[in-house]
Symmetry: C2
């Protein structure tokens, strides 16, 4: 929720299940089926629980605005198609990507276990959430997972002058012996779009080299980036060509390979209020039990220990797990005004 | 070849086949089988032909030094094992990765076409070459390809103080309608190790933020990086954690999943002169013909045109293709002293 005064109100601690149920009511009362509402509410409440604020309840107004605009079909029933022993395709039928993924999840796991590797190609879909929730469950099921999603043109390719790529995140998860899976989720842009929005809301400048304004000039003002400007690919001064190459790969795998739109292809101008990119997503799952390497999860743990031994202070995903434990213990912390607004929306 | 005076001698233009044949003689006369020599010579001559000098004939002394040390088996006969319909494993038997890959190549292509996706896991292998030659042929065969290889501990993980990861490149290739495949090959370190060696040879400083010396202090001196120092992951000041996460993923996929060594695990101290990392490699091939997306290669071409339209000046891989065409037309340009030395080695 982007109400400024929310930051000045006391904090409430909401039990996770209560938050999730409330969000499900909100979705269902604003244009989704009960099935879609359940999936989106779990995803959004989980992000808030884990401290991933840019993809938590902050996103609710965007979801509702998009649903109200008629840009996305909240009642879509995805169509799963078996293309080959290791290749599943889902037409999300202009609905959200997560329900499409859930419909094919068990088949993807079965195919990965039978073949050693399998992929799920989702197209005609809207992804408005964090990407790590798409890979973590696969690692909990013992698989190594990679997910890629393209978004909307807001990133200038290396050496270019015009926004073309999306923030195009890459998420990866691997099972780890005796611990939660090792998970990362990184935008191939210098910054995630949600974090630019949060910086704009809080009036914080961006680091140098992260964005350009509507004239293609470097800027540290997040509002200038959002207002006709663009982000740069990640990589820093000397290596943004690397982030740009990875972003290009995400376009090819998440859009060209799935049958979805590139980040620059969809046109939502006829749907005022639309905020969800209408693109595609690719998920690859690998079964390490088929490997000649013994005990993949133990080897993963070996690497983690070596990383700690080399002085790495924080593992990818570690902060999320710590926040998750705290939220499950104490309830999900929300400004009281935000929680009141969510409850109001759930009744609306 | 790293003879300094080579730069002061005239340039000769050597027909590609002549160069390749000469390199094959060198390998065979310095401890490899004819089969291994043919694969390595083609790889090394191709890199030189394409202007990828850090992986061209510059590597010959390192190959020979390694072979002389007994660290690698130049006569190894790889063992291919079919683990699952989409999962091939190759034990390179302490030989080079490229002959192991070649032995399984046709099976990998067949599995990708039958299943939609397949992977090849190589372990007990030495990779001392560029990675793009491992993906470009798959794209020429109509497949989308991803390759990952770990190397030797020379990169400090994000926030750490000690070298742990290799330069751990990621290579990607996709077929492009009417053109050579779209290919990139990028180190997840701030710089490729071969380029650090070349900078040291030429006395050029590294950019800031690329390396640390043996005390973990920032340095721009390539010799300090090579002499007990380390590289940083790519990403720049604010985002080296992203390069670090990708490097970690390469360790897990190229080593843990294949059954190979992590970059920090092998011990070559008993083999003076050894230079080749004894690790693993993972190659994933996807058949876009199984997709609901029509005409993947045409979609790839659409994206390339949009990238040009957004002002991107140079495509990944473009410089290599341009240099390749020139080398095939005029011969591969080599300093006369280097060519003389190669001819000498071929007789030795």
């Amino acid at each position: 929720m982007n109400t400024k005064h929310a930051h000045l109100t006391p904090t409430e601690h909401i039990p996770f299940d209560t938050l999730r149920t409330t969000l499900a009511h909100i979705f269902e009362r604003h244009g989704t089926s009960a099935a879609v509402a359940a999936v989106l509410a779990d995803n959004c409440a989980s992000a808030e629980r884990d401290g991933a604020h840019s993809h938590g309840v902050f996103r609710i107004p965007g979801y509702l605005s998009t649903l109200a605009s008629g840009w996305v079909d909240g009642h879509a029933i995805p169509r799963v198609q078996d293309m080959a022993p290791g290749f599943l395709s889902v037409d999300a039928c202009n609905g959200f990507a997560q329900p499409a993924y859930m419909m094919a999840y068990d088949a993807l796991v079965a195919k990965a276990r039978a073949n050693g590797i399998a992929l799920l190609a989702i197209h005609n879909s809207h992804h408005f959430a964090a990407l790590w929730p798409d890979v973590e469950p696969l690692a909990r099921d013992g698989l190594v997972a990679l997910a890629l999603v393209n978004s909307m043109a807001c990133v200038v390719p290396s050496g270019g002058t015009k926004a073309l790529f999306g923030t195009n995140p890459i998420a990866f998860a691997a099972p780890r012996a005796g611990h939660d899976p090792l998970v990362f989720d990184l935008a191939t842009s210098a910054m995630a779009h949600g974090d630019v929005q949060i910086a704009a809301r809080e009036g914080r400048p961006l680091p140098e080299g992260f964005g350009v304004d509507c004239n293609g000039q470097p800027t540290t003002d997040p509002r200038a980036v959002l207002d006709g400007g663009a982000l740069l690919p990640f990589g820093g001064l000397h290596s943004s060509y690397k982030g740009s190459a990875l972003s290009m790969m995400v376009e090819l795998l998440a859009a060209a390979l799935t049958g979805g739109h590139f980040s620059f292809e969809f046109d939502w101008r006829g749907h005022s209020g639309a905020q969800t990119p209408h693109t595609g997503e690719l998920i690859i799952a690998i079964d390490p039990a088929k490997s000649q390497g013994r005990g993949f999860a133990q080897r993963c743990e070996d690497l983690v220990r070596a990383m700690a031994g080399a002085g790495q202070q924080r593992l990818p995903g570690e902060r999320r797990y710590r926040q998750r434990a705290q939220s499950l213990r104490e309830g999900v912390a929300l400004p009281a005004a935000t929680w009141a607004e969510l409850q109001r929306l759930a009744q609306a």
